[in-house]
């Protein structure tokens, strides 16, 4: 999906991107990246979409797998255009960023 196609169709928007990112689950914690609070922002760019995200731990060995799974998930949306992932560590992730309570 290139930028031209993105311009022609209806962009899924931040809500659509967030919804699809809920399918990406941290394999160690067992919670999706949105509920886990790893997604700091979803931005529209001229060529597609940028997902600003963090990791639970700096240097997390799962980083490459999570990034890849997020990229594949977002790219599966129609008319999304180019997918850019931006990893940030400021502010650092904290368990208080988890939405709601964990399963007992």
């Amino acid at each position: 999906m290139g930028p031209e196609a993105a311009a022609e169709g209806i962009h899924p928007g931040a809500a659509g991107v967030a919804a699809i990112l809920r399918r990406v689950v941290d394999p160690e914690i067992g919670i999706d990246v949105v509920r886990l609070g790893l997604i700091y922002g979803i931005e529209r760019t001229p060529r597609g979409v940028r997902v600003v995200h963090t990791l639970t731990t700096t240097g997390c060995p799962l980083a490459e797998h999570l990034a890849r799974a997020m990229r594949v998930a977002v790219a599966s949306l129609p008319h999304v255009g180019e997918v850019e992932l931006r990893l940030v560590t400021d502010p650092p992730w904290h368990p208080d960023m988890i939405q709601g309570f964990l399963e007992p």
Partner: protein
């Protein structure tokens, strides 16, 4: 609750560079599996070899139960079983874990990965000969085994030192592992002295003091110090207890390091009167570590504990028991042989052994997932890390190990060989179950 800024479009004040390749096309090639570590074979090979020694150690506990019940800690067969736990289970597990964790946690690298396989062969082979020699009374095998495993340990210590030298991150964890590396060499030197004493009797009546120094420099200076250092990184991650004060853990690192240092110098440099001071520092450091561990568990965001974390919690409890049992041994006049034997069992098998067993339930499945399932995540359905083994069987293994070692320690204290043997049997079944489960995990691949 939907307060998280998932739909926020503003920038976040990013201070780091974008992830490598993050702006590439969607159909970008796969990331190189295990790019952040040495590959699966080296750490997993160590962890699996350690599990073999663990299962053998569990069976050994059943075998030496009568000696344990009369406080026979100096019995060569008890010494053989003890080394199955200390060198076979604890040290081999730590080696494997460091091969994986050090590059990630400290941003260093082991410069000669193939040397890791050589040191494993020397270590495991030498230990097997050493244990057989002790159990059969063949002192030549004991000395040959000690020399072989000692060579392996020295090479590993040098390899670890090189990796630490290359580390870009030098924090408390780095200090703990670096100090532990030095104490490994000290413990090895004292062990070789004890092995030579078996053949020559050169230590005379002083051999029990050397034995105590050897045990504590190895258990606290090497194993516990690594545990303290690595726990700083792993426990918050496993328990989701980020933000917990690290002050008790830092104090534990300093106190244990100082205590092991005093004990290391006690034989040749310091007066023997320094030994109780060294023991006191170790006890204070262990108490601080227990405080740190309890703080992480209290602050955890994960209400439901996984099997591995139950083992870690049990291990902290057994470490507290060891602390209580160990204090009388430091008092003038010492303690009874049974109390000292119960103390060593609580410390080595209950405290340190279960702590490592708990982490094996986390680390090995994670390694297998990272190297085999991670590269296909997003393309097809993959299990969670915790789904790589059966939870019910894991909880059974945890319960058997926890109840088993508790019963062993209690049985030794009351002097009941029957109780020790039954409890050791339960522990052995639990250890075997865990070893079998994790060996099964190591074979898992994406369908």
């Amino acid at each position: 609750m939907r307060s998280h800024p998932i739909t926020a479009l503003e920038a976040t004040g990013a201070s780091t560079a974008p992830e490598a390749g993050s702006t590439g096309p969607i159909a970008a090639g796969r990331p190189r599996p295990g790019a952040a570590g040495p590959g699966l074979a080296l750490p997993a090979g160590h962890l699996l070899a350690a599990l073999l020694f663990y299962a053998a150690g569990g069976a050994g506990l059943v075998w030496v139960a009568p000696s344990l019940a009369v406080g026979g800690f100096a019995d060569p067969r008890v010494a053989a079983v003890t080394h199955l736990f200390t060198l076979g289970w604890l040290t081999t597990s730590i080696m494997g874990a460091l091969y994986q964790l050090l590059p990630v946690a400290l941003q260093g690298r082991f410069p000669w990965p193939r040397l890791g396989f050589v040191t494993l062969a020397l270590h495991a082979g030498g230990l097997a000969a050493f244990v057989v020699g002790l159990t059969t009374g063949d002192t030549a095998a004991v000395v040959a085994g000690a020399a072989t495993l000692g060579t392996g340990l020295l090479l590993f210590a040098a390899h670890l030192a090189a990796a630490l030298r290359s580390a870009r991150r030098r924090d408390v964890t780095w200090g703990c592992v670096a100090a532990a590396d030095a104490f490994l060499v000290v413990a090895l030197s004292l062990g070789v002295l004890l092995a030579l004493n078996l053949r020559t009797g050169l230590l005379g009546p002083g051999r029990f003091v050397i034995l105590a120094l050897h045990l504590h420099v190895a258990a606290a200076g090497w194993v516990l110090l690594v545990i303290v250092g690595i726990s700083r990184r792993l426990l918050p991650m496993f328990l989701l207890s980020h933000g917990t004060s690290e002050a008790p853990g830092v104090a534990a690192a300093w106190l244990i390091g100082l205590g092991a240092g005093v004990l290391s110098l006690a034989h040749h440099v310091l007066p023997m009167a320094a030994v109780p001071a060294g023991g006191g520092l170790l006890a204070a450091g262990t108490a601080c570590f227990l405080w740190q561990g309890a703080a992480h568990f209290a602050a955890r965001r994960r209400p439901r504990l996984e099997p591995g974390l139950w083992l870690v919690a049990t291990a902290l409890g057994m470490l507290a028991v060891a602390l209580v049992l160990g204090v009388p041994a430091m008092l003038p006049g010492g303690a009874s042989a049974r109390l000292e034997t119960a103390y060593v069992a609580a410390l080595v098998v209950g405290g340190l052994g279960l702590f490592v067993a708990g982490h094996q339930y986390k680390i090995l499945p994670f390694l297998v997932w990272h190297h085999r399932f991670g590269p296909v995540a997003g393309e097809r359905e993959v299990p969670m890390v915790g789904e790589l083994f059966d939870r019910g069987a894991a909880f059974a293994a945890v319960g058997l190990q926890a109840a088993g070692i508790t019963g062993v320690v209690a049985g030794i204290l009351v002097g009941s060989a029957r109780a020790v043997r039954i409890a050791a049997g339960a522990f052995a079944v639990g250890a075997l179950l865990q070893a079998g489960q994790l060996a099964g995990v190591a074979r898992r691949r994406p369908s």
